[in-house]
């Protein structure tokens, strides 16, 4: 750990509920602890609806947790002024088509954070910064005068990245940075993201449903299911030695040979029954409804994250071990 005694971002036992239309309450994230150190890359993996985006948005203060607190450098993010917070943390949206106002020009998109956030008063300095950033993301200066409408999806994604790197935050969340792109631009954009992050020396959370791109990133990985953390470990630990049945299932659908042979059992994953685990007074493991290894205890008690070795922790009764507190 660095010389600073606080981690950059800490989520302490956060919960997030949403009110459903019928009057019910949907729990998007429950009792989640997470900490991200300076300069660290953390990938959050899970299927859609698992609460990844909610976690990402909570960690930058875009969404307020229903319970628990989010700390930025040891200070509760709620108590920070909007401007101070936004200089430090930024969130990159998953849909480049929706995240850029079609009525704006690229210049306006890039100039707004410089004017209102970085408070760069001189127009020529702003221009210089914008040219520099456009150059870094591999787009010419003429893009400054284009309308957002004229850009392709890949270009929009790059502009979004350029916008974030103008701000030079300490921590950024990239939500599904590659999902909306075609496969050619996918690795390219991901590499760009990784390189720019390195240049800025910022911490980053990458949110993705695609576990295969995790191998391209270094750092830790968290696997989420229904608002809870199932397994955490470094990329290497998790991909070489996946422990949790859900992680195995995720790897089974990727065209990875090693994982496939290991997870033949999980082929019948489709008939999973989540109706039980969704009821209000259910106290067991959220994955029990779909887990082929589930036994009596799984449906009664919730497994805690336990440390297996190093940073590798898993929340499953299959693996006995000492309880791990990720917030520490």
């Amino acid at each position: 750990m660095s010389e600073n005694k606080h981690n950059l971002v800490e989520l302490k036992h956060v919960y997030r509920y949403y009110r459903e239309k019928g009057g019910g309450i949907l729990s998007a994230v429950s009792d989640l602890c997470l900490s991200i150190g300076r300069g660290e890359v953390f990938s959050l993996v899970g299927e859609s609806g698992s609460g990844k985006t909610t976690v990402g948005k909570m960690s930058v203060g875009l969404t307020k947790p229903s319970r628990g607190e989010v700390l930025l450098e040891g200070v509760n993010i709620k108590s920070l002024k909007q401007e101070a917070r936004l200089r430090k943390v930024q969130y990159v949206h998953q849909d480049p088509y929706g995240a850029l106002d079609p009525y704006l020009t690229v210049r306006e998109v890039l100039e707004r954070p410089l004017v209102y956030l970085k408070r760069v008063k001189e127009a020529h300095i702003r221009e210089e910064i914008m040219y520099e950033r456009l150059d870094q993301i591999g787009l010419g200066y003429e893009y400054l005068f284009k309308n957002v409408k004229e850009l392709s999806g890949g270009e929009k994604q790059r502009i979004l990245l350029a916008r974030v790197f103008l701000i030079e935050p300490d921590y950024l969340v990239a939500d599904e940075p590659t999902t909306m792109l075609d496969s050619v631009h996918r690795t390219e954009t991901l590499n760009l993201l990784v390189n720019l992050r390195k240049k800025m020396d910022a911490s980053m959370m990458v949110i993705t449903h695609d576990i295969s791109i995790v191998s391209l990133l270094s750092g830790r990985v968290g696997v989420m299911f229904q608002g809870e953390m199932m397994e955490v470990g470094t990329t290497e630990e998790l991909l070489k030695n996946p422990l949790h049945p859900y992680t195995l299932a995720l790897l089974a659908v990727t065209p990875d040979k090693i994982a496939k042979s290991k997870n033949a059992i999980l082929e019948d994953n489709k008939h999973r029954d989540l109706s039980l685990t969704r009821t209000a007074d259910y106290k067991g493991c959220v994955y029990a409804g779909a887990c082929p290894f589930a036994f009596e205890k799984c449906r009664i008690e919730k497994p805690k994250l336990v440390r297996i070795e190093g940073t590798h922790s898993v929340a499953c009764f299959k693996y006995p071990g000492e309880s791990a507190n990720l917030a520490e």
Partner: protein
């Protein structure tokens, strides 16, 4: 490698405003917009001419009473021998001006209340309850009562009309802003620390501009109709000559029973045509924006 300033500004103007191009495109292709523009610009042209030239004094008697249309008095004369053509020419100025002022104030209030209640949650309740109340007020009876009590000027009437007719526009804009607010680009703007008033009254307004434009055109037309009805009932302002004032005077001087149709037709038909012209432009543009 930095581009020259000149090139800069040229490029900026070329690529700016897709919104304007839609309007220009509508003007070039939609028959409805063309007819509407022809009608409205005809009357606006007349209004501009009347600022510089009116053949006879508007209020003074210049000829015989109830003279039918002739080359000397193009639209005939009134009961007092005033020239109807001069009155009609001069009346266009004020009719259009008052209508535009009332319409502009209506849309100003409508946009303000609509955007604010759509974007700011705490403003939503109060503004929309107020809109509910305003929507149930019958405009004309209320204006008649107020007119009888206070003898308002044209400007007062324009303000009153704005106060009584912003609600429908505010509602529509509010629901539009409510759905816009959830779009990601708003979150991006928030993350750029763009001030709230700027997000509301620049970004949101820019996205609802098609709505605002069509509603404003209708607001102008409705205001003209309401004011002329007030004039006709006899509680409207008559301080300056408008088409409504002409109809009021014609009615008061029994133009109909005297067979002086030339006193009634020009102002009434002009109101109908001008308001219809505005409606043509509005509907034509609405169609063009839908295809956008």
């Amino acid at each position: 490698m930095f581009p020259r300033r000149l090139e800069n500004s040229v490029r900026r103007n070329l690529n700016r405003n897709t919104f304007l191009t839609v309007i220009l495109n509508a003007v070039a292709t939609s028959r409805m917009v063309q007819i509407g523009l022809a009608i409205t610009s005809f009357f606006v042209g007349i209004a501009i001419i009347s600022v510089f030239y009116v053949p006879y004094p508007v209020w003074a008697p210049v000829g015989p009473s109830f003279a039918p249309p002739s080359w000397t008095y193009l639209f005939g004369t009134t009961a007092l021998g005033q020239d109807v053509f001069s009155q009609w020419l001069y009346g266009s100025q004020w009719t259009i001006l008052v209508g535009v002022i009332a319409g502009a104030m209506t849309s100003y209030l409508g946009v303000f209340a609509g955007v604010l209640s759509g974007y700011m949650r705490y403003a939503d309740g109060p503004f929309m309850r107020l809109a509910d109340v305003v929507l149930t007020l019958p405009t004309l009876p209320l204006l008649i009562v107020v007119g009888a009590f206070f003898q308002p000027s044209y400007f007062d009437v324009a303000v009153l009309i704005a106060i009584l007719s912003w609600a429908a526009m505010a509602r529509t804009i509010r629901s539009e802003v409510l759905s816009l607010k959830n779009q990601q680009f708003v979150e991006v703007a928030v993350q750029s620390n763009v001030p709230k008033y700027k997000i509301m009254f620049v970004d949101m307004v820019r996205h609802t501009l098609p709505l605002i434009l069509t509603y404003s055109l209708f607001a102008v037309g409705d205001a003209i109709l309401t004011i002329s009805a007030l004039n006709f009932i006899g509680v409207g302002p008559i301080s300056v000559m408008t088409w409504g004032t002409m109809l009021d005077l014609a009615e008061g001087n029994l133009a109909l029973l005297s067979g002086a149709w030339w006193w009634e037709i020009p102002p009434g038909l002009s109101i109908a045509l001008f308001v219809a012209g505005l409606a043509f432009v509005a509907y034509g543009l609405e169609g063009a924006f839908k295809k956008m």
